[in-house]
Symmetry: C2
Subunit: 319 residues, 2 copies
């Protein structure tokens, strides 16, 4: 059972309770679903911004500068830094987590790192759930910051209203081939560290690639904003472009459409995970472990064993 | 119904029938499951090699050279080039697919590109299924070649007996941070184009990173093989290292363990996909579409709607 105090705390944007609520969401207890159900009616008001890009592109710096700018506009900001730990080093991929100490005492800024080893899928789900907490707490902006590796940037694009891909001149080579996924999700680009040599070339290369692309939303021309995050250059242009994109989405009613389609995906993921959890109950995992030898020795086909396991699951349900 | 001729054709390694069988697997018909069940007893004899790495590393060249070497050893080779089309350009990420014309008339070499737009998950499943066809057809080696983007290289590592990650000196920067995933899956590395400036530095960097890593299988020291694919340099060293790794896995019984764990994952994926397919029947998709508005307007929580949909699914099963 959840204490009523926690809901009062969230709705009053008391950071202790916001933090506690996110911890509940992270630990994936039964309480999490209950909490999210109860706060849902207060959600939908925050504008959600995704910031992604390769490691070292300066995403954290830009996030920090955006927070400062939003605060000058008297807007509150919640940040979720999605931090996929590297399976290799065990360390965090997002570099500098020691930051924003000056926001620590600002009741209108809340920053939370969410890290997990292994499953990014599980991380994304928790990230989206945590954003609901920040939304219900009445933050004006929610920023998701994530390293563009593998699945995480796609997941973030599927929860953000505007997605910003941060690149640097050195990303040039990577853009053409590897970052196809990043191209697809970007509502606009930031070329950070654009005072470095090669910036012009990188921007030209990016423009060429973008010109080959059918814009997913025809009337929104994808922009490239130049910035030098460490010198606070280009930050107000980034904020302006976010606003412009928001206006575009709102005036065309695409915001609601995007949120509907994001929400459908979220629901599909919730359901798929629930079913996966159910079918992989201990007794069926045991059965899989016991039977795997006969599949490897080529007696039983994996499809045959799969059908047997599904049958067992359905018998359980029907009972 | 499948014609008996197709099975005879596969088992005789008639390339027309092998090709037809893979097309059946690709098109995901009911026939696919039937076919895979019927050939399963003939599988398990091929040695499966995964070759992955960033675009432009020379994976195709190395694959081609390996094919030639294996043919000199009188071994047969089936190749599946996993070709994730970029969602952005619509083009193929693996560059040169016009190749190996000299193998075209060799009955002991079979090369197939598998490409799909969108879901890499679906592609991996079909790749693994197609490998079963090649395995049942009696090819000695099956090579999976895939670009190391996102999920595909992980999936390939989960079906290969030995996974080779091909890098080039220019990959140096990328190694440290982005390719953590590649590090994790490599049984050994090939530093291709190692006649280029910077090769020594790249190898040192790679060694440093590897020294930080706990080897996932303690007694197998990860190796770095230097090669110049276009000049056929280092290819026999690659083949030797594959053989060495194979001997290591066999002598320690790790090969069976690895195959068991890969197969378990494959079965989990088959089952999860089947359940996803079942729950997302038309009537429940319709229900989701009709209900999504009330979630966006914050009346119904996504978790509540998810529970309703699961309930509907279970009622269907119980009937």
């Amino acid at each position: 059972m959840l204490d009523k105090k926690i809901f009062d705390g969230i709705f009053k944007r008391d950071k202790r309770f916001v933090s506690r609520a996110i911890s509940i969401v992270e630990s994936s207890e039964v309480n999490s679903v209950e909490l999210l159900k109860q706060i849902h009616s207060k959600t939908g008001n925050a504008y959600r911004i995704g910031i992604t890009g390769p490691p070292g592109a300066g995403k954290s710096t830009i996030t920090n500068q955006l927070i400062k700018l939003f605060r000058k506009q008297n807007k509150s900001v919640g940040v979720i830094a999605v931090d996929p730990t590297s399976p290799f080093t065990g360390g965090a991929l997002l570099g500098d987590r020691v930051r924003m100490n000056d926001s620590h005492n600002d009741p209108d800024v809340f920053i939370r790192s969410m890290a997990t080893r292994g499953s990014l899928g599980g991380l994304s789900k928790k990230t989206i759930d945590a954003a609901d907490v920040l939304d219900a707490a009445g933050f004006d902006y929610i920023i998701f910051e994530t390293v563009g590796v593998g699945q995480s940037e796609l997941d973030i694009a599927q929860t953000a209203d505007s997605t910003i891909v941060v690149l640097v001149p050195e990303s040039g080579d990577a853009i053409q081939a590897m970052k196809a996924g990043l191209m697809e999700i970007a509502d606009f680009f930031v070329m950070n560290k654009s005072d470095r040599p090669g910036a012009e070339n990188a921007i030209s290369a990016l423009k060429t690639i973008l010109s080959l692309k059918d814009n997913h939303s025809r009337d929104w021309g994808i922009e490239i904003v130049q910035a030098v995050g460490t010198e606070n250059k280009g930050i107000s242009e980034i904020a302006d472009t976010i606003q412009k994109h928001k206006n575009f989405l709102t005036s065309t009613n695409l915001l609601t459409e995007k949120r509907k389609s994001n929400m459908k995906l979220r629901i599909r993921n919730i359901i798929d995970e629930k079913l996966r959890h159910e079918i992989w109950a201990d007794d069926r995992i045991d059965f899989l472990n016991e039977s795997i030898g006969s599949v490897i020795s080529a007696k039983v086909s994996p499809y045959q064993l799969s059908e047997e396991i599904i049958k067992k699951y359905k018998l359980d349900i029907a009972q």
